[in-house]
């Protein structure tokens, strides 16, 4: 193992098809037109000294270190800003250039601390390297002149420091913030000698708009911007490329290590999902992996009111297995089930559903996609024929019109949001459909052409109205529809959306958005060039979630925006492996590869491979499991890496269901909220402690690589194997690669996938099979997976969750940049400095009517329950709408949400809850009681050593 040193070519790669030939230092070189002289030299193995240049940002030409001579041209141009030309003859090293460079370095070093031996960047400092490269041996100016050595160090950010005394003002950080991240939080303030990097209005990094993505730290050539972990631990000695375990973007990272200790996580430039960029979570928020709350020993208890008792793995697994078998003996084969995790690997997910189907002997398997993107699977399969997004992330580079509907990419999918913002800065147009004024509506150098701030629950009315305009104004793509779609279905749909009840004028009544704005947005989408829809849980988590997905698919097909780069219907998946969890057959009705359990051919294939008979009937979905538990027919549950007590709606009902079970087995890193109702706790492993794969939102399968042994002794896949074995069925795999081999053998879209292929390609997008051996970046080129595209009638049906005098406001919930899902990971990192509690966003008018001031405690009441939290007054939300997050168990936002759900999939309607808000003195009685119960439930019995016999 060694430290992976990525080549920095100094300037960006040119994508030109035209080749230019030139000579550098006597070597003939051919590169794409538009390549810089610096990059051309580097590609030929000639390193031109540089400081302000790096290939993540545009060339700047300020440091004057990369000077070269070009035959026939005057002076010594900067090689970073000079593009190659046919026949050019370049010299990168001669006496004149050496002297110039040494002079430049002398000036830099005359105002730089000479503390290399104790500097955190020692061994990883480009300034140090360049001093060596130019042969700097003395600084003739001395060090006594005016300098910046006493400049203050900004340590306000929890993850990195800014030491101005070491800054060479190369602007790499400023340009990374602008060009890579798109936040524009940094600038060079002052002039001449007073020039300095300023965060925001010079208020320090923590107080500024900085989003801590780490792009500036990565870009810094000195120790000016430096990870605190490196300052504390030292430089890493080896690195391993792996995939982030946070959101569905699936960024590739180098885990840089010293021994078994992570020194830092650095985004990998070759990562095809992130191209070397990161966000605050993946880059910095990995401290949870060794947090003191990690449970490292298996535990059991007889009753949920007892304290936990630490036991051996054998005892815990044996107890869990015997309890599950006892329950089946007493209540029947179908009285138990399990939940797979979207945070675990494909291989682990596959094994859990396999164990449930083949060992439990039923199909009571489900996954957290139930509560997020299950409508995506249903809606896209009915219209396009497959349950996945249509594009790769790179596709956005060719998009002319972006619709973002029910998603907040800058908070929930920040690395992709940066790509999107870059495209918007290049001139793409933007339509945002969201009840809140999310950051994309207006932020630095980005402004939506249209923001349609619709009332929660009216997505279908809005999409039908957009379609109405497309059809009635003849803006649809007749050729595409005729050639690629079911023409009769199109005719029915066109007649349906043309009806007056689907007009923008009618929709305005439901959505609250003026008809003219809807019409203008529809015209832009249909006529603005390549148009792509990106959506999130603001689409799916509704009683009409599946209908909304179909309505978007209809719209994309009608306008011909499917089947090529720059277009498509793109779900932004919430968790790291939601796509994979769905692909792997986690749903109770589907085997891996989205094939229904009742399909005899598919079922027999798995029966033969697994050597068992499978039940042909669908099993229970998560909400059905909880209903059945309350009803007394479902008694045992194995939960791998999910926290349904916090994440699922109507928390009181979830708790009632869990409390009614006789054996709940939780496999997790921490004693989460679900574990409060568990009888067996099996300590899980983090993504750093195991091998496997994750599949991101663009269907990209990426490797997860083990960088340290599992802290509790077993990887999650090994725990599942042990449980299956204890229940009497041996599933033999020596390594997760063997599990993937089995998946490939049994799943048509995965037949070409193997760990060898992933080593070779880095990552691959399914379908990857004989037809597409290198994977499939764009789906439905030339034809839909189902053959012809299918238009479906999407009638708007208002939700039954109505506002009224008792509950006059609509609550919608979401996520914030610094926290992730139930917060189990991010709450155990320094990210809490940005979000230490869930807040209720409320419009100033609604707040004033209720006598609520900013920061006040308020009570949030719904038909399901009540909770208290503090208010944040903001016009980000429209009057009549309030918003909160669900990251903190002390808030228990899901006590308030109801059990209304999507008609097709039972995905909960998190996004629409009728509520009332009133001033409050603090937490509710429920919150206080819950906290007390939780504290009691987390007790671990102290083992009293037995004195040795005399």
């Amino acid at each position: 193992m060694s430290l992976i040193e990525e080549t920095d070519y100094g300037t960006r790669r040119s994508t030109s098809d035209k080749t230019v030939s030139l000579t550098i230092d006597g070597f003939e070189i051919a590169v794409p037109e538009g390549t810089s002289v610096m990059r051309a030299a580097m590609e030929a193995g000639i390193k031109v000294p540089k400081l302000c240049a790096t290939d993540m940002v545009d060339a700047f030409g300020s440091c004057r270190l990369c000077l070269v001579e070009i035959q026939g041209r005057a002076g010594t141009p900067a090689s970073c800003t000079t593009p190659v030309a046919e026949g050019m003859v370049v010299t990168t090293q001669n006496e004149r250039l050496k002297k110039l460079r040494r002079n430049v370095m002398e000036l830099y070093i005359s105002d730089h601390p000479l503390d290399c031996l104790t500097c955190a960047a020692n061994g990883d400092c480009e300034l140090q390297d360049m001093a060596g490269a130019v042969g700097l041996r003395e600084v003739r100016y001395g060090y006594a002149g005016e300098n910046h050595l006493g400049a203050a160090k900004d340590t306000s950010n929890p993850y990195f420091t800014f030491d101005a005394s070491k800054c060479i003002v190369c602007s790499r950080c400023v340009r990374a913030c602008e060009e890579v991240q798109g936040t524009f939080a940094l600038t060079i303030d002052g002039r001449g000698f007073a020039s300095h990097v300023a965060a925001g209005m010079d208020e320090g990094f923590l107080g500024s708009e900085c989003v801590s993505c780490g792009a500036c730290v990565q870009a810094c050539p000195t120790a000016t911007l430096m990870e605190k972990s490196v300052i504390e631990i030292g430089q890493p000695e080896h690195s391993v490329v792996t995939t982030c375990a946070y959101c569905g973007v699936g960024c590739s990272f180098k885990a840089e290590m010293r021994g078994n200790e992570v020194v830092r996580m650095v985004p990998w430039k070759d990562g095809k999902a992130n191209h070397g960029h990161s966000c605050v979570k993946g880059r910095f928020a990995w401290g949870y992996t060794n947090h003191r709350d990690r449970i490292l020993k298996p535990m059991i208890r007889a009753r949920i009111t007892d304290p936990w008792r630490e036991v051996s793995w054998d005892e815990a697994i044996g107890h869990a297995a015997s309890e599950l078998r006892r329950i089946q003996g007493q209540y029947g084969r179908n009285s138990i089930g399990g939940i797979t995790s979207s945070r675990c690997t494909n291989e682990e997910t596959y094994l859990v559903q396999k164990m449930i189907r083949a060992v439990f002997g039923n199909n009571n398997t489900d996954t957290c996609a139930r509560v997020c993107h299950s409508p995506t699977g249903y809606g896209l399969s009915k219209t396009f024929g497959t349950s996945a997004g249509t594009q790769d992330f790179d596709s956005v580079e060719e998009t002319d019109v972006i619709i973002v509907i029910g998603a907040n990419p800058t908070d929930a999918h920040p690395v992709f949001a940066s790509r999107m913002k870059k495209r918007l800065r290049e001139g793409a147009r933007l339509i945002v459909v969201d009840p809140r004024r999310i950051d994309l509506v207006r932020s630095a150098h980005v402004e939506a052409d249209y923001h349609l701030p619709l009332r929660p629950g009216t997505n279908v009315a809005m999409l039908n109205a957009l379609a109405h305009v497309v059809v009635t104004e003849s803006l649809f793509d007749q050729d595409f529809v005729r050639e690629r779609c079911e023409i009769d279905a199109f005719a029915d749909w066109a007649e349906f959306v043309s009806r007056p009840e689907n007009s923008p004028e009618t929709a305005a009544h439901f959505t609250g958005v003026p008809a003219e704005t809807i019409r203008a947005a529809a015209r832009l989408y249909a006529t603005g060039g390549n148009a792509a829809i990106y959506y999130g849980l603001g689409v799916t988590e509704h009683s009409q979630g599946s209908t909304t997905v179909m309505a978007m698919a209809n719209l994309a097909m009608a306008t011909g925006n499917i089947g090529r780069r720059g277009v498509g219907v793109n779900p932004l998946r919430g968790q790291n492996n939601v796509q994979g969890a769905c692909d792997m057959g986690s749903f109770p009705h589907e085997l891996p590869g989205y094939r229904h359990i009742s399909d005899d051919t598919t079922r027999h294939l798995f029966e033969q491979a697994w050597g068992v008979t499978l039940d042909a009937e669908p099993g229970l979905r998560i909400p059905n499991m909880l209903d059945a538990a309350v009803d007394g027919t479902f008694k045992g549950l194995y939960v791998q890496g999910e926290d349904i007590a916090q994440s699922d709606p109507d928390a009181k009902h979830v708790i009632a269901g869990l409390s009614a079970m006789e054996c709940v087995i939780v496999q997790d890193l921490f004693l989460n909220e679900t574990a409060n109702y568990a009888h067996v706790f099996l300590p899980g492993s983090t993504f750093l402690e195991k091998d496997g794969t994750f599949t991101n939102a663009e269907r990209r399968i990426g490797r997860v690589r083990k960088v340290m042994p599992p802290r509790a002794g077993m990887a999650d896949w090994e725990i599942t194997l042990a449980l299956a074995k204890a229940m009497g069925v041996e599933m033999n795999y020596a390594h997760p690669s063997e599990i993937m081999d089995e998946i490939a053998r049994l799943t048509p879209t995965f037949t070409g996938v193997s760990y060898a292929k992933l080593e070779e390609m880095g990552s691959v997008q399914w379908p990857c099979n004989e037809k597409s051996p290198e994977g499939t970046p764009i789906m439905h080129i030339g034809g839909f997976v189902r053959g012809k595209g299918n238009f479906l009638i999407t009638e708007y049906v208002p939700t039954d969750e109505k506002v009224g005098p008792r509950f006059p406001l609509l609550l919608t919930t979401g996520r914030i940049l610094s926290q992730y899902n139930v917060g189990a990971q991010t709450r155990r990192t320094e990210n809490v400095v940005w979000h230490e509690e869930d807040m209720l966003e409320i419009h100033p008018h609604d707040a004033e009517e209720r006598g609520v001031r900013d920061g006040d405690w308020v009570r949030l009441n719904s038909r399901a329950g009540a909770t208290s939290l503090r208010a944040r007054i903001t016009d980000r939300v429209a009057p009549g709408v309030v918003y909160t997050t669900f990251h903190h168990p002390t808030t228990q936002a899901n006590v308030v949400t109801t059990d209304y759900s999507d008609w097709a999939t039972n995905c909960p309607e998190y996004k629409v809850t009728a509520v009332q808000v009133a001033p409050s003195n603090g937490p509710t009685e429920w919150q206080t009681e819950y906290r007390e119960h939780s504290d009691q439930s987390r007790r671990i019995a102290q083992v009293v050593p037995v004195p040795a016999a005399e």
């Binding site: 179908n334 199909n363 009571n364 349906f496 009683s543 599946s546 209908t547 109770p588 009705h589 229904h596 009742s598 009937e617 669908p618 099993g619 229970l620 979905r621 059905n624 209903d627 059945a628 009803d631 027919t633 009638i793 009638e795 049906v797 059990d899 008609w903 097709a904 999939t905 039972n906």
Partner: protein, 77 residues
């Protein structure tokens, strides 16, 4: 299982298909329930049809449930 909840869910499903000709709407509603509902949920709604005359179910949804019930009662060859 709470029959009220199941009736609500079944009607929700039926509502999506209600724009189709009745025979198609009945068949699609039945197909959806068959493909996505666990057998105990189906059994509970069959019992609701038997004991409560399917009270609360939309007429075409009731037909769908009755069709499913007949199918379940038919021995497989």
């Amino acid at each position: 299982m709470d029959s009220g909840k199941l009736v609500y869910m079944a009607n929700q499903i039926g509502r999506f298909f209600q724009n189709q000709p009745e025979a198609e709407a009945v068949a699609n509603t039945a197909d959806h329930i068959k493909k996505f509902w666990d057998p105990r949920m189906r059994k509970a709604i069959f019992a609701h049809v038997d004991h409560e005359n399917g009270e609360g179910l939309q007429p075409y949804v009731l037909k769908a449930i009755q069709a499913l019930k007949s199918e379940a009662a038919t021995p497989k060859v």
